[in-house]
């Protein structure tokens, strides 16, 4: 069986523009004024990254700020094109780079559920079948017809998370989104993720917390300045919850 996600020799360069010429006017002026010219610099965000995530497996993605974790998720989700290399995926991907993508403050929670789900490629009638479950899970029954602008930020995240976990993706790409809402709701989210995992969902989880990776993942990788520096299995039932076992794989 092919792996759910296969990342081969992926490299991503960004162009950092200093003094960016945003329009035609500045470009025209730049012809005459040297100081108005933009300078470009290449920045290597990912360098020869190789990954293989089997179906039903859960991978933790660790690394310092700016190490390229979100960039890697965006490439796997097809949002960004890699500069070099290839990504192959099998199954429907739900990227959770942010909760509640496309939520509009003027629309009610109910309307936002449909808008958000359709961004993931869902037909409204399929969302309709899930909408009851989504509202129940979010515990926002009383507010569901209120415009989103009157929600607290935690309530908005609850709604976003509820939609995402009810879309039954084959592959979930989660970027630091497991800290949703208050303590009881977080517990509920974790249970739901575990439940989806048990049903065979593949998970790639970006996190700064080794406990979280320990809890949800079978494997982990660590990125440093865009390079994979560490790959290993998560040792279950480890006495020290902060310890991840390390198997160097070449």
């Amino acid at each position: 069986m092919p792996p759910a996600v296969l990342v081969e020799h992926v490299r991503k360069e960004f162009i950092l523009r200093h003094n960016r010429a945003m329009g035609l006017k500045t470009r025209f002026l730049a012809l005459f004024h040297k100081s108005k010219r933009e300078r470009r610099e290449h920045f290597l965000a990912l360098d020869d990254v190789n990954l293989r995530v089997e179906r039903g497996e859960a991978l933790g993605l660790l690394g310092h700020n700016g190490s390229g974790k979100s960039t890697l998720l965006q490439i796997i989700a097809g949002i960004l094109e890699p500069t070099r290399g290839r990504v192959t995926t099998h199954g429907r991907i739900a990227p959770l780079i942010q909760l509640g993508v496309g939520f509009h403050p003027e629309l009610s929670g109910y309307e936002n559920i449909f808008l958000n789900a359709s961004l993931y490629g869902f037909r409204n009638r399929d969302t309709q079948k899930r909408v009851k479950g989504i509202i129940e899970f979010s515990e926002l029954q009383h507010f569901i017809d209120t415009p989103l602008k009157n929600y607290s930020s935690g309530m908005q995240m609850r709604l976003g998370f509820s939609v995402a976990v009810h879309l039954q993706p084959d592959i979930l790409l989660a970027d630091e989104i497991l800290a949703v809402g208050d303590q009881p709701f977080q517990e509920k989210c974790h249970e739901r993720i575990a439940e989806l995992r048990a049903q065979g969902m593949t998970l790639i989880l970006v996190s700064h917390s080794t406990q979280q990776v320990q809890r949800f993942c079978d494997k982990f990788v660590r990125l440093e300045y865009g390079r994979l520096v560490e790959t290993g299995d998560v040792k279950k039932n480890s006495p020290d919850a902060t310890e991840l076992s390390i198997n160097e794989e070449g």
Partner: protein
């Protein structure tokens, strides 16, 4: 339960997202009018005011001697409005949706397309007035009217091509909108909306003939005003412009769409 498939290709890939387009358009309508049905009527205020203004200008200042002049004018202004509104909005459609585009993948072409459909939805209300007023303004019913939907479809396809082009270009050139607004203002006078093409001198006629909108206006005026079939040359030239706009728009989108996200 049905879930979206991951492997749809070609047209099916876009078709799968049809409810996204519908929801985006519904969102824009709701946000713009805050659910007030009366607010919708305001979208009529603009074309009506324009028609009154132009009627005054053209009958009293320039003296047009076209019969049923108001009908001629209404047809021109309404169709030009569709163009100008769609074009002005298109510039910011991709840059305005940066938040979506950076967080999730869906066919990018749907964003400017949804914007165009939103403009069309508002425009339909304006065209309803024309339908109601048509007999009173001296319009004639003839079989050629059945061709009107085809002519309109051609026009919309032409506009769609331009919308795609401008939405992509605006990512690179953020001040394109200002240029486009000026161009839209000039184009109005270079299109036979308030005047008859045959009254122009040779020099101005040459410029106006080069304007793609002229051919579309000629077609609409033939069908709706003169009650005749449009000339074949108009149809051929309009089709050629449409093909060119579509080719340019889809080509730019294919080339640039993927790389756009990091520029937003």
């Amino acid at each position: 339960m049905q879930t979206p498939t991951a492997t749809a290709t070609g047209f099916a890939r876009y078709w799968q997202y049809r409810d996204l387009v519908r929801n985006l358009v519904a969102k824009d309508l709701k946000v713009r009018y805050q659910g007030a049905a009366l607010g919708f009527l305001w979208s009529l205020g603009n074309p009506l005011a324009l028609i009154l203004l132009y009627d005054f200008v053209f009958t009293h200042v320039f003296r047009s001697d076209l019969p049923n002049y108001i009908l001629y004018l209404v047809i021109g202004v309404l169709h030009y409005n569709l163009f100008s509104q769609a074009i002005s909005q298109s510039c910011e459609s991709l840059t305005g949706a940066a938040g979506l585009l950076q967080k999730i993948y869906f066919p990018r072409i749907l964003v400017p397309t949804a914007n165009l459909i939103f403009t069309l939805a508002l425009w339909v209300v304006a065209i309803l007035i024309l339908i109601v007023l048509y007999p009173f303004l001296g319009g004639v019913y003839h079989w050629g009217l059945l061709l009107y939907p085809l002519a309109l479809a051609l026009y919309i396809a032409f506009i769609w091509g331009l919308v795609l082009t401008l939405s992509v270009l605006n990512v690179e050139f953020r001040d394109l909108k200002h240029l486009v607004e000026i161009a839209v203002m000039f184009l109005f006078w270079l299109t036979p909306i308030g005047y008859d093409l045959n009254t122009l001198g040779t020099n101005s006629r040459m410029i106006v003939d080069f304007n793609p909108l002229t051919e579309f206006m000629q077609i609409f005026h033939s069908l709706l005003y003169q009650g005749t079939l449009p000339s074949l040359s108009s149809v051929a030239i309009a089709s050629a412009w449409t093909a060119a706009a579509l080719l340019l728009g889809t080509f730019l989108f294919r080339r640039k769409a993927r790389g756009l996200v990091e520029e937003l």
